[in-house]
């Protein structure tokens, strides 16, 4: 069965420190992977997708098919990065998305 696991409910780091939000998945096939972010009092929005190999707001995510992971990383966290982050998976036809339970990132000054 398909599953997205985010093992950390809360991650606190100091400004300027590196941050890594973990995401592991299980899926019978080769899914597409995404990271979504929800800032305080804002809507859920796409942060980045694996297929675009992009870096958004300094964040990158590497797909490791051997470990079935798609961890989100940023070398130097900023206070404005404080938000709820969700890892998500979709089959190739994009007819549905499976989300993890989310990690709340708190960047302290």
């Amino acid at each position: 069965a398909q599953r997205v696991t985010q093992p950390e409910k809360l991650l606190s780091v100091f400004k300027g420190a590196p941050v890594e939000l973990k995401c592991n998945y299980s899926y019978s096939g080769s899914p597409e992977l995404f990271w979504y972010v929800q800032y305080s009092r804002q809507r859920l929005q796409l942060l980045l997708r694996h297929i675009s190999r992009e870096s958004i707001k300094g964040f990158t995510a590497d797909l490791n098919k051997g470990e079935t992971s798609f961890h989100l990383k940023k070398p130097f966290a900023q206070e404005e990065d404080s938000a709820m982050y969700y890892c998500a998976l979709s089959p190739h036809n994009f007819n549905k998305f499976y989300f993890g339970s989310g990690t709340k990132l708190n960047v302290k000054p």
Binding site: R43, Q45, L46, F94, F99
Partner: protein, 115 residues
Amino acid sequence: GAGVSQTPSNKVTEKGKYVELRCDPISGHTALYWYRQSLGQGPEFLIYFQGTGAADDSGLPNDRFFAVRPEGSVSTLKIQRTERGDSAVYLCASSMGAGPTDTQYFGPGTRLTVL
């Protein structure tokens, strides 16, 4: 431009009642998704529309849940005989299409409380 809108923003109902939740997608978006988000959880997929048709309704939990999109734009999620366990935030998202570079845009959600 206008984003995805959802009405009502909050709905309180009693167990056993019928509710309708509305989603207005971004104009021109053919793909529309409904999700349910319970406290402390991520969004849970319910149903996906491509145009007017429900292309995937495998996430609907039981036959009390039904959704329509008759003209390929506005969608309504209908819940019959509501139960306390239906209490959650119901999210709607739309995208231009359902392809690898299409982006889902989420609405603000409807918070449903079943007493």
